[in-house]
């Protein structure tokens, strides 16, 4: 089963753990709803769409309200350290959480005791703290955008806010930045870099570039990176090997975006409903190629 750990931008949202479904355009967990605008709700909504299409189990969410004070994240970390021992997840995604080195270490210690070890994906704030802690290699996948890739490539920056200017340049430098991130031990086993072109890479360099269909507007739309992470996590937890899932998910996310005929003013909630059709079309194309 897939587990997703993250936050909801509502300070009153309680700490909840449970299966996540979609109800009338919201995510629903333990009878409580959260709107899908961006962030962890968008990631979960994309994951639910994929598992529904594949006939798999709904993802398990660990959610709490946090608007940036870090209080919610801290309660969630505390709960996770105990609860993870009692669960057996195939894949865990850590997402919008307040970066905190101490809590990251405790979560890592709890995960190290799990057998078998789950596939670990870190995005957003938890990817920042994984790198900041020097523990990037403990993860199977990071899903940075180009700005975050520059941060991973900057061995001195503890947060993207401090990324040095010479690293924050054009997208065509992505292969150099990927190499630099691996050189300094600041990348996970695999990277899926989200951008105008999506790059799938490992320690040996770029393994695939996914740039079709090309919708320039997607870069401006908040949550399109979250949906990509949700799609790949759902595919991996459904048993697809990570490299194959990475390429499929990038293609599905792009195609779903394209089906929404986006402008920079489009909201991610307008794209998510197109994920099942995009997945079906990509899988159909793949089956035809294999025949």
């Amino acid at each position: 089963m897939l587990a997703v750990v993250g936050t909801v931008p509502d300070p009153k949202f309680p700490l909840l753990g449970g299966k996540v479904t979609l109800e009338d355009g919201d995510i629903c967990i333990q009878g409580r709803r959260a709107a899908i605008r961006r962030g962890t709700p968008a990631l979960l909504a994309a994951a639910v769409k994929v598992v529904e299409a594949l006939g798999r189990e709904e993802p398990f969410g660990y959610l709490i309200g946090d608007v940036g004070s870090g209080d919610g994240s801290q309660k969630l970390y505390q709960y996770l350290v105990r609860d993870l021992r009692q669960k057996n997840f195939h894949t865990i995604v850590f997402h919008y959480l307040q970066p905190h080195i101490g809590w990251h270490s405790r979560i890592q210690s709890a995960i190290e005791k799990l057998t078998p070890k789950p596939i670990l994906i870190a995005d957003a704030g938890f990817m920042y703290v994984a790198k900041m802690s020097g523990r990037s290699s403990a993860y199977d996948l990071f899903t940075p955008d180009m700005g975050e890739l520059a941060f991973l490539a900057d061995e001195l920056a503890p947060h993207p806010f401090y990324t040095r200017g010479f690293l924050l340049h054009e997208e065509n430098r992505a292969p150099d930045l990927i190499a630099r991130a691996y050189q300094h031990g600041n990348a996970a086993r695999y990277l899926l870099v989200k951008g105008r072109k999506d790059y799938f890479a490992d320690r040996d360099g770029v393994q695939a570039i996914i740039d079709h269909p090309m919708e320039e507007a997607l870069e401006a739309i908040g949550g399109t990176g979250d949906t990509l992470t949700g799609i790949i996590a759902a595919l991996i937890s459904s048993g697809i090997e990570l490299p194959q899932a990475a390429i499929l998910s990038a293609r599905v996310n792009r195609l779903a975006g394209s089906y929404a005929h986006p402008s920079p003013g489009t909201q991610v909630s307008e794209i998510i409903p197109h994920i099942p059709k995009a997945l079906e079309d990509i899988l159909k194309e793949r089956r035809e190629l294999l025949q």
Partner: protein, 184 residues
């Protein structure tokens, strides 16, 4: 000078301090740093928000670099305002400098400004904020909910309602967008 006057070119050369005449103030959290920065700048002190040295870094941190000679007055001001620093420490090695580059993308009807990992997009005609993307700290989705759909001049400032370094990066993009769209 705007909130992010510390990013201006003239201060870049002094980003690394080796003279021992500067110190930094450490706070409980980034929200307190932002409040203290606003207060001290209003009172006219020459301060800068910077990244802490590794030995005191916990996660999403900022510190305030200040003239060490003013320590007593500054700590008294902060105590009176109810935001006393946890520590005051002399600067002994270079502090990290916040990002100071913007990437601009013109979509025709829309303009996107990126600062570090944060992107802000505005409809150029109506000056409405249509999207906020990027970032990883938990105030980003909250900031987006509060700002998207509002006109640039009426949207709340990320500095007022944000708490983290991503919120701070969004403030940079917001200031740059206002500079480009509202000052022509």
């Amino acid at each position: 000078m705007g909130t992010f006057g510390f990013l201006k070119k003239k201060s870049e050369d002094s980003a690394e301090n080796h003279n021992g005449d500067r110190g930094f103030l450490v706070f409980e959290n980034t929200s307190e740093v932002i409040q203290a920065e606003n207060l001290l700048k209003k009172k006219g002190w020459e301060i800068r928000v910077m990244g802490p040295p590794p030995e005191i870094r916990t996660g999403c941190d900022l510190v305030i670099e200040f003239p060490l000679i003013e320590e007593l007055k500054i700590t008294k001001t902060l105590q009176e305002a109810g935001i006393p620093p946890l520590q005051t420490v002399p600067v002994s090695s270079p502090l990290l400098k916040p990002v100071d580059l913007f990437q601009i993308k013109d979509f025709g009807k829309y303009l996107m400004v990126q600062a570090a990992n944060m992107k802000l997009t505005v409809d150029k005609e109506s000056l409405t904020i249509v999207n906020i993307s990027g970032g990883g700290c938990p105030d980003v989705p909250y900031l987006a909910e509060q700002m998207v759909g509002k006109v640039l001049s009426q949207a709340p400032s990320p500095l007022e309602i944000g708490h983290t370094l991503c919120g701070y990066a969004l403030q940079l993009a917001y200031e740059e967008m206002k500079r480009r769209c509202l000052q022509s």
